[in-house]
Each structure stands twice: as structure tokens, then as C-alpha cells.
Assembly symmetry: C2
Homo-oligomer: 137 residues x 2
């Protein structure tokens, strides 16, 4: 199931670029085995510099659940979180809950990005390389 959630995040990231709404970053929040909310980067289309994928997904999940904390939820995000998003994730998810990241840029990154962050699951999706090196969030 984890791969399916991650795949959903990646597909939403790609769609976010196609739609012109924002950058190639999306995230989904999962509770009890199903996606309850999703978010994508909409910094430029909303003039909200905090509207990164993880932040918008967290906001949407809380709106739907009617709560301001996400214990028992998981987050799957399409790329390495920036410091703000990493802080948001650690603020609002319980330490034992799964937080999974992938990178759509280079397959190799999918594992290496998670290194050293306790509690993060290494991603093993077979993500096709875009052929590009590096990238910015």
C-alpha cells in the first residue's frame, strides 16, 4: 500500500506542473489505510510562500478531520521536504507514525534523501529517472 500512496503523491506532483498551479511537489495524508487528504505546491498561484505540498496537505487533512493534530496519520511526499515542511511534519505527526518521502528527480535520491532522519522509511519505488541532475524546491 505504501507504494500506492507514494505513487499517488508523485502523480499529483506531475499533474500540478501540467495544470500550471505550481511546482512538481505533492503529498498525501493517509489514515487507517486510505488517503484522506492531498496537497500540492501552490506558492506561485496563490502568492503564499508557505503553500508547499506538505503544508497544504497537512492543512487539508486537518480541515477534513476537524482537528489540529494528526496522530495516527501518515504522510507521503514526492520530494525531500524543505526545512519548513520537515518542521511541520515533525510538529504534527506522532513520532511513531510513518513519514515517507521520494524524489522524482533521480532514482538514487529516493533512498539517500532519507538518510539519518530517524523514523523515515526508505523509499523503494522504481521511479523512472527524468534524466536531469539536481533540482530546487
Amino acid at each position: 500500500m505504501a507504494n500506492a500512496f507514494m505513487q499517488e503523491a508523485i502523480e499529483r506532483a506531475v499533474e500540478n506542473v501540467r495544470s500550471g498551479r505550481g511546482g512538481p511537489f505533492a503529498a498525501v495524508v493517509v489514515k487507517e489505510g486510505r488517503i484522506i487528504a492531498a496537497g500540492a505546491n501552490c506558492v506561485t498561484s496563490t502568492n503564499d510562500p508557505t503553500a508547499h505540498a506538505e503544508v497544504t496537505a497537512i492543512r487539508e487533512a486537518c480541515r477534513i478531520l476537524g482537528t489540529f493534530e494528526l496522530t495516527g496519520c501518515e504522510i507521503y511526499t514526492s520530494c525531500e521536504p524543505c526545512p519548513m515542511c520537515l518542521g511541520a511534519i515533525y510538529n504534527h505527526f506522532a513520532s511513531g507514525d510513518r513519514k515517507t518521502i521520494a524524489s522524482g528527480i533521480e532514482r538514487a535520491n529516493a533512498c539517500t534523501l532519507a538518510r539519518g532522519l530517524h523514523g523515515w522509511k526508505k523509499n523503494k519505488l522504481d521511479i523512472p529517472s527524468s534524466g536531469k541532475k539536481g533540482g530546487t524546491k
Copy 2:
């Protein structure tokens, strides 16, 4: 002027508690010597766990300016930023711009909280102690 901006942030933090809207945290964004936007913690009243003072101030400043970046702006915040807010500040303010923090909890914290963070100004406001030790954000 810096002290006046910080005092404004602290007063807004106190008012935020009195109003019941949220915790004792507020921030103001300054551009060209005047406050252009303010924000206060409204996590519990809006069910938005990312609605910390610094994040709401940044969002409001960008809404008012019609842009998603805050080069040339300064932020004054009433307490030590959490990791999310610290990330948001470093994401959205240019490295040379002033970022000033204070703590309304203990006078001694006003200086010590800023230690080791390059570019942060030590706060020298004469902040009355609340008489309480510690606190959570």
C-alpha cells in the same frame, strides 16, 4: 525602531491570548521602516496546525504585497520560532535581512534564544518576567 516593532509583536501575542484566538505568539513583518503585516497563532481556533504566528504573518505580508517573496522585509516575532517557522523565515527572507526574536516568558531568554543563529539580532527589550519557568509553543 526595532524595539517598537518587537513591542508590537509582544503586545499582539498578549492580546491573542486575551481574545481566546490562540497561544501567546505573534509576529510582525516590517518593510521600509513600517509594519506592513502581522500574524498571531490561531492553530486551535482555525484547526490549522501550521497557523503559527510567523507563518500567518508571512502569509499576510505576501497577500498584502501581492508577491510570494519578502526580500527587503524584516520579521519580529514574540518567541523563539519552532523548526517549521524557522524554516519558513529562512525560506522567505533574504539572508541579509533582519530577523528578530524575543521571549515573553523569561527576560533572560530574550538574548539566549538567539545564540548561534547567524544573522539574528539579540533582543535587548526590557521584558517583564511572567514569573513562570519554561513554556510550550
